[in-house]
Symmetry: C2
Subunit: 323 residues, 2 copies
Amino acid sequence: VLVGPGDDAAVVAPPGHPLAITTDALVEGTHFRREWLTQEELGARAATVNLSDLAAMAAQPAYVLIAIAAPSEMVAADLDRLIDAFTARSEAAGALVIGGNLARAPVLSLTVTALGWLDGPCLTRQGAKPGDRLVVTGTLGGAAAAVSAWLGGGSPPAPVRERFVNPVARITAGRALAAAGAHAAIDVSDGLMQDLGHLCRASGVGAAIERERLPRLAEVRALDAAGADFAATGGEDYELLFAWPAEREAQLDDLARSLELPLTVIGHCTEDVDRIDLLLPDGAVHRTGPRAGFDHFAVPPEAPGRGVDVEARSPTRAGGAKR
Amino acid sequence: VLVGPGDDAAVVAPPGHPLAITTDALVEGTHFRREWLTQEELGARAATVNLSDLAAMAAQPAYVLIAIAAPSEMVAADLDRLIDAFTARSEAAGALVIGGNLARAPVLSLTVTALGWLDGPCLTRQGAKPGDRLVVTGTLGGAAAAVSAWLGGGSPPAPVRERFVNPVARITAGRALAAAGAHAAIDVSDGLMQDLGHLCRASGVGAAIERERLPRLAEVRALDAAGADFAATGGEDYELLFAWPAEREAQLDDLARSLELPLTVIGHCTEDVDRIDLLLPDGAVHRTGPRAGFDHFAVPPEAPGRGVDVEARSPTRAGGAKR
């Protein structure tokens, strides 16, 4: 860091590696309610959801910036706790806080930009091939189960709550999977089915997965069909979904042991582009398009058929080439 | 750009130069009201206020990311216009849009991260010396005069409105001033007096400036004392304030001509650290601390004396070294 926080911009030394850059926001009322989690948990979570995007690229986190918009009644001590936790979580992942911004707004929002070095192979959403095994880290549906409990007026069991308030960015796993030859990856932020759709669309493949195989905490499994639905479509688990060459499926056990992290095969890629089949336990097949899952931004009725997915729209507008 | 928008993160090739990075937000109700400006003007302005931070470092803009939080009733066509204008303004400055995020929120906010290469000398807030001339580009107070007119229920004259809705990031000027040997610079975003305070604090100098010298549009000058106050403390003009070696003051005329941009000497740096004197036309001196100007985030009464300036607080927390 040549110029740290406190100037018009931070300045970092030229790296010897390509640089991965991502930005993501947590908005009160959309992504969380303040009574659900402490300031410390919120600050750490803001770091994690962005570090997770770097994990999905197999990048080594290097720098983060945080733009906070906060209501005027929020006390400085709360902001301190939030920023301290954000800083600690970032630094634990190897990322220095090099900048920030603070503005007043009606609700609390945290917009983070994370930068990481690609000092090894890069994982993108492209590269999955028909026959590839689809594998997820950790467990799914816990965050959605926690939100459901809160919205229902209750309190989630501690392990379920933990999945929402304290997700883990799978940085080591992402880098190990890339080094071991994974074909593609995405982090599960919008819900498995939606993020699987993103991966399939980018790779030009379809997918078939089995609902019963979706890894769940015991507390989520106990919710039966609702728990299965949380695992399939609930977002914000920040696990990695990756495509893995079928002929090396046996290697996953070794990887899971060395990472001390469950790696679960939930299905495989197919040749049927944009067709994603979710096999239910009774043998029925729930067929979805590539956009199932939670969409923060419904298309308004004034503009039928128009999507507002910045990620999907920007390549042509920005003139940015996909690699 | 190795991986453009549409993946978990963008990936850019390793640069041969240090990288400047900044993040800043425009929040509806805090920084603007939607009836004040068009979607196109808002999108372009979001780019400019961030590019201005790069200009103050003398960096060449390379990449931008935009995180949009928008109310659900905002139509897709409006978002399109906003993003198109953001993209066009960024590209005109040499910066590609490499990523974005879209979330729902009660009010519209645009949080932009801008990255630029330092392929020449870097300007920071440090480096001003006693005796240095304090110089500003363009004119001051126009943006504040426009806001004042709107808040008063009127409409600002066109040239004044333009200063708010269509500020110019002084990228070429910043780089030329750095190359020509300016000692320090900051962009005037929070108001001249406050930003001058930042520069003085970082450089360990004081300052004396003359209010009558502050460059103003004729329409701002016509506002008399109010116009002078807008120029001294109004924010969001996005001009550059820089410290220039006194012995080369004559060179400023040539620079202004080649940049086709007024460069106005408004005062000089002194040895009295943190003492900033604003000389009024009647000979009186208005002495301010380093924090005059508009503060988006007042210190709440629960925490007397506690500042919540992320920029000022972060260096120790982040462990980031000032260069």
